[in-house]
Amino acid sequence: MSNSNRNPSKINGINRRQFLAQTAKTGCVVGMVGMGLTTVATQSKHLDPQAIRPPGALNEDDFLSACVRCGLCVEACPYDTLKLARWFEGAATGTPYFTARDVPCEMCDDIPCVKACPSGSLDHSLTDINDSKMGIAVLIDEKNCLNFKGLRCDVCYRVCPLIDEAITLEMQRNHKSGHHAMFLPTVHADACTGCGKCEHACVTEQAVIKVLPAEIALGKTAEHDTYQNTEATTLEMLNKGLSL
């Protein structure tokens, strides 16, 4: 028994069978954890249309790779707008979001939430809050909008920090009464910051105007479509004497 190499199959004090069993066990656990996690992660990656990201947030995929869920943005927000998502809630657990109907973003000039973010998931190159794109307001239910009924509610229009830029009132003849005008709140996607003040202020029981993440709110023309800027294209064609 004093022979030093009596057990050639020993690896680190365990024999080969134990080693193989351990390796198999390790492999199983690690593999299962990996699969489980990936499933959970990709499932809850789907965007909740009511959960709006803070200003400067990268697009959702990049945001989820960058955000460390530290809550520094939440603590930096002076208006308690932002919250960290919980498990079983819309946004990915631990990441910041806000619900415009509850507390909208007040569009701080110095954008403290972005400054506080250590990971850059809120893009530090955003320096003018008016350039932010937290989402796009959409007048989602014309039927229940008081202005579409011919009244002058105008609340969403008046609360908008970018009044007459992000939202305008478009006058239209009221076909119902025949001689009144309707002032239709109209959002201009290129100017709207998605702050949600309009959704917050909308007077109806359920907001008629809602802020949606840009991915949901915006359509997209095909790459090959040359008629992207219709007005300019029309003018160009007219100038060239082409038939429309």
Partner: protein
């Protein structure tokens, strides 16, 4: 030489409690709970009282609005996902890594991490009810978990582990009211109590594995300075969350006094429960030259 089967005391650590008093035999446990609560309080008084010493949570925070602190593991995950973060996150991770490289990597585990309280509780329940000890999981599993946690962001582009990571969940729950993640902690309590002993912290947790690696270079260690007084009561083995680290210094013929295994969480419970005061915290460069005279090797 066969009397080591623990005939002396019935109750765990009774001798230490008799000799040193209850507080003496729970000194480092109490100090640890105090630091764990203190660190948490530093975060909590911000939202509660508006006194902002530490903002954020254990994933990333900022001390007095100047020093960034970030979890090295979450920072590595962000990098692995292909995103280059702001400098403050990287500096924060460096600050934390350097700090724990000096004070001992797994000092985080036993002196800061809130999950430690839960897994210690599970272990306490096990001791009270004398649940059978099963070591069903390999010890190095956590390093595979660590590799997995860093690999998944490369594959999926998302910091997948942060969906589950129990370490920041407690803080998020308490500081940001995001309590619905607490089921993960309930799972860990059940796992540790009923499935396998110390399953989470000493077999699975990738954060612990990360800090264990960081602590490899640390000078601060627990040393079995008075190993010659050991009376084989085995209380240290009962209480130690990483029992395997004790063997090299306590087995017959051991030549090393210092527990050099970086899996040691430096919790100091072995110091607490040992009546003959075998262990103490030591700077390992102090003990290096006082190499132990090997005890007579038993021949059987």
């Amino acid at each position: 030489m066969t009397h080591s089967s623990k005939p002396k005391t019935e109750r765990f650590a009774e001798e230490a409690i008799n000799q040193l008093g209850w507080f003496g035999a729970h000194k480092f446990l109490l100090l640890r709970r105090l630091t764990q609560v203190a660190v948490f309080s530093l975060f909590a008084i911000g939202p509660a009282l508006g006194l902002w010493l530490l903002k954020g949570n254990l994933s990333s925070s900022i001390l007095l609005d100047t020093v960034p602190l970030s979890d090295p593991l979450v920072t590595l995950q962000v990098l692995a996902s292909g995103h280059l973060p702001e400098a403050s996150l990287l500096i924060g991770a460096l600050v934390i890594a350097l700090t724990y490289a000096i004070v001992g990597g797994r000092v985080f585990c036993s002196w800061v991490c809130p999950v430690n309280i839960i897994t210690d509780t599970a272990s306490w329940i096990r001791r009270k009810f004398k649940l059978p000890r099963i070591n069903a999981l390999p010890k190095n599993l956590r390093y595979y978990m660590l590799a997995l946690v860093l690999l998944l962001p490369m594959v999926t582009g998302v910091t997948v582990w942060e969906w589950m990571n129990p370490v920041p969940i407690v803080y998020r729950a308490a500081l940001f009211g995001a309590g619905s993640g607490l089921w993960v902690l309930a799972m860990i309590l059940l796992l540790d109590t009923f499935v396998a002993e110390r399953a989470w912290c000493s077999h699975l947790c990738p954060t612990g594995a990360m800090f264990s690696l960081i602590g490899k270079v640390s000078p601060i260690k627990v040393s079995a300075t008075n190993a010659k007084d050991c009376n084989n009561c085995m209380d240290c083995f009962t209480v130690c969350p990483e029992r395997q680290v004790l063997k090299p210094v306590l087995r017959k013929g051991a030549t090393e006094l210092t527990i050099n295994d970086s899996d040691c969480t430096l919790c100091g419970r072995c110091i607490d429960v040992c009546a003959p005061r075998v262990f103490e915290y030591k700077n390992r460069f102090n003990t290096q030259n006082s190499k132990r005279i090997p005890l007579k090797v038993e021949s059987n």
